[in-house]
Amino acid sequence: MKGQSAAIAVVVAAGVMILIVFVTTYDALTLTQKRFYEDQRFADVFADLKRAPNHVAGRLRAVDGVNHVETRVSAPVRIEVPGFDEPVRGRVVSLPEEHEPLVNRLYLREGAFPPPWRADAAAVNEVFAEAHGLRPGDTFNVIIRGQLERLTVSGIVLSPEFIYQLGPNDLVPDYKRYGVLWMRERGLAKAFAMDGAFNNAVFTLRPDALSERVIELVDEFLAPYGGIGAYGREDQLSHRFLEEELDQVRTMATVLPVIFLGVAAFLLHVLMGRIIRTQREQIAVLKAFGHTNGEIAAHYALFTGLIVCAGAVAGVALGAWVADGLARLYMEYFRFPEVSFRLQGWVLAVAVFVAGGAAFLGAYGAVRSAVSLPPAEAMRPPLPERFQRGLLEQSTLWARISQPTRIILRNLSRHPLKSGLSVVGIALAGALLLVGSQLFRAIDHMVDFQYRFVLLMDIHLTFTEPTPERAARELLHKPGVRYAEGYRAVPVRLVNGSSEYQTSLLGIERDSRLRGVVDAERRPVRVPHEGILLTTYLADYLGIRPGDTVEVEILEGRRRMLPVPLAGVVEEPIGVSAYMERRAVNRLMREGPAVTGAWILADNELRETLFRELRDLARVDGIGLVGDAERAFRKHLDDTLLAFMGVVLFLSISIAFAVIYNNARIALAERMRELATLRVLGFTRFEVSWILIGEVALLTAVAIPVGWGIGVGFAYALNQAMALDMYRVPFILTPWTFAFSAAGVLVASVLSVVVMSKRILRIDMVTALKTGE
């Protein structure tokens, strides 16, 4: 009983745990985000522009619906940290000279804000400081507009604007190679040639304000000053990525617990029922001693309650522990001052209610049928169970099957419902394993696709501004450069009717060797002379098909709307790109042959030298290593999505074990007499074990393919629910996925058989065959 009760408690614990882990992690993240946004007065509207004199700020403040405005200087920089040789990019944002910003306040972790009127001090974003071990008092260099400035770290800070600190070309944060700093306004403006002017403004709105309306008004005001389009929070980089991650957690927090609790409830129902059926004799004895049905029911209710409680307590404890750990893992990416972690009563209630309800239902049915037997009848050893010849015997193979195997087959086919439920129970565990392994596999596939077929360059350069295309050719003469290619990137808003999407339009060479543009079958797609190529996801999002026209709103320089035909769609699992031929982009921009960045293929050995030379190029403002980005991206996925799935896999195996073990234990109890008889007849322990092992093996063998079927369905549902802007996990099934699910179930079976075989060895013939005298 102990083993079986424990196995049931494991199922309860698994169900409760998964619900708590997912819901609590999601809750912790959203709650933390909300509090931090409120405390730091995170902006509602953001605007970038070329340059506006400071007095314009007053007019922005007067815009209807605006609560607070902060105008700032925001400058891309290169950073040199002592002891770190690789290229580091960054952004410096200005702080008002003598007071805390009204919008997007900084949260001070350590040290102090830069002293007023000091041009040589900066506050550093925590992730960047941590990555480089920077402490208040340390110094480092920044290059602003080609000018080297030496800065002292005044303090370490967090900002609601850079919770997700992401470089302009990165998919995931790279704390070592991209950093955000804050300096007092005067010093920064001077260095950036922005004296008495600003190039960025952030707004909080009044509660009743319509952000679309404010954006329109702000755009109108800023257009003469090179405004490139204000945008709301939903388009702010850090916020958007944070929301995407949260969406993903929300999806998992909905889909997985529903699957898991459903599975757990089903298993509990079956297991409780069985455990009680093996006790019909005890129930009869209790009745014979005069216990009423009510007392017996109460006894089993207590028994069930204890198991459910034990499981729920373990599930809550483990769940809270894992959820806390996961929330902390997420904090590595999203910098919040502290995690607001809470266990919500309703989550506990739902988990315990579902698990308990299922267990009680299962127990109820079994107890009711047990007490309905007259005691005398229930105490008599059950008559030989009724068997009949059926379909099995008609098979031509039957004659060749040994008797022990016939026992297995007859026992299983005698109780099709019971066997079916066992199969489904094991299959569900296998299905969960498949969901987990397919996600691991699919993510690997996705990252491989991106880095083997799309991003073919080693190094990624961005220029400070559009630059003649020969700049890219000149790179070929740098040490270690094997190949280089320029590209033209333009920030755009793609519009079709009411759907719109802000992204970057990439103008690439027609026969680009460093940026793969491929279709779903990974065949190269030629970039057309005219027209635009969109990723399938984006085309679907905008609701357009090849041949349709999409409105391209240019968000750089003079803003214009241009209709461009959709020439085709391309497949790209990560990111949401739009492609055109580079010269076509130049024509769109009404400029000569210009590029805004370059991709390089370089020798590994000469990298250090190459970096040094690239860093000294005045117009280069960013240098990115694709290899680093890939590593960072993989680590990011490992720590977030895959950490979740790790929990799921662990629980799936536990459930598989619990089901199989329980099944085998009950079979052992039911067959004890038969097995002892076989021992008397001279069967060895091993031969006798086969009757049970064979049964488990057969159930497992049938359950594995069934689990595959159910798992594919689950995986597909999860996959559909998880398509994101940031990346789309492909739905791919490989033999490996199926093998993994099968292997997990097999491991669980082998474990249960091993644990149980100890009991088979201990069968005592004399006791087992004693007749109730």
């Binding site: 030989p384 009724r386 008797q403 013939m765």
Partner: protein, 244 residues
């Protein structure tokens, strides 16, 4: 014992026990189930072991059959010392040498009569076919019935067929008729008698029914873990003539 030795001096003993004791250690109390048994079972004979319930009959038979081991003393089967045999040797012994029949037929419910016998013939060295064995107990017309489709007496006869199908040297029956009415019992006893006479299988049969002793070559009486009496019948009465 002296009587038996003189009259059976020329017979080969199949079993011989010397000073066999069995103590069940129940923690607080020790139950002395056997208190020093010296006896023999001779080739080809049908011995009936009589005694009140709880006197140690089953314990003795289980030890002879290799289901249990003695606490003290020696049990010799032919030239083999069963008290020193390990688990594997005992399994082999049960598999090839002994046939067992219990009060509770212990059928495998999922196997037909034929299959219940076949399960033994599959692993035996020189077995008869299941059909032959079932014919010997008069059940050739019920071979494809499952235990649930057979009466108690029929099940017990299948159990006997199962026990003797491997052509064992000894047949050990522990109250084979304990759960049967007298008419059915006779059919079961006749089956045992047939096997003993026809195949010459050495047979020990436990009962607490005095009348059944009359079908034996020899009757051994036990009481409180000891052999208290031993008697040789001048002639065996066929089970058909027994009445109770």
């Amino acid at each position: 014992m002296t009587v038996a030795r003189e009259t059976n001096g020329c017979l080969r003993s199949v079993f011989r026990t010397e000073g066999v004791t069995k103590v069940y250690d129940m923690g607080e109390v020790k139950i002395h189930a056997l208190r020093g048994i010296d006896m023999a079972l001779y080739a080809g004979e049908l011995m009936v072991l009589l005694g009140p319930s709880g006197c140690g009959k089953s314990t003795l038979l289980n030890i002879l059959g290799g289901l249990d081991t003695a606490t003290n003393g020696t049990v010799t089967y032919r030239d083999q010392d069963l008290t020193r045999a390990d688990e594997r040797a005992l399994t082999r012994y049960r598999r090839h040498e002994v046939g067992f029949v219990f009060q509770a037929y212990n059928m495998i419910p999922s196997l037909t009569a034929r299959e219940n016998v076949a399960i033994v013939t599959e692993i035996a060295e020189n077995p008869m076919t299941p059909e032959e064995a079932l014919a010997l107990v008069g059940l050739d017309d019920r071979m494809d019935h499952f235990p649930s489709q057979l009466s108690g007496g029929q099940q017990q006869r299948v159990a006997i067929a199962r026990a003797i199908a491997k052509r064992p040297s000894v047949l050990l029956c522990d109250e084979p008729t304990g759960a049967l009415d007298s008419k059915t019992s006779v059919a079961v006893l006749e089956a045992i008698e047939n096997i003993n006479r026809g195949l010459g299988t050495t047979t020990a049969l436990i009962t607490h029914n005095e009348v059944i002793g009359e079908m034996a070559d020899r009757v051994v009486r036990m009481s409180d873990g000891k052999i208290v009496d031993e008697r040789r019948n001048d002639s065996r009465r066929p089970p058909g003539e027994l009445e109770w």
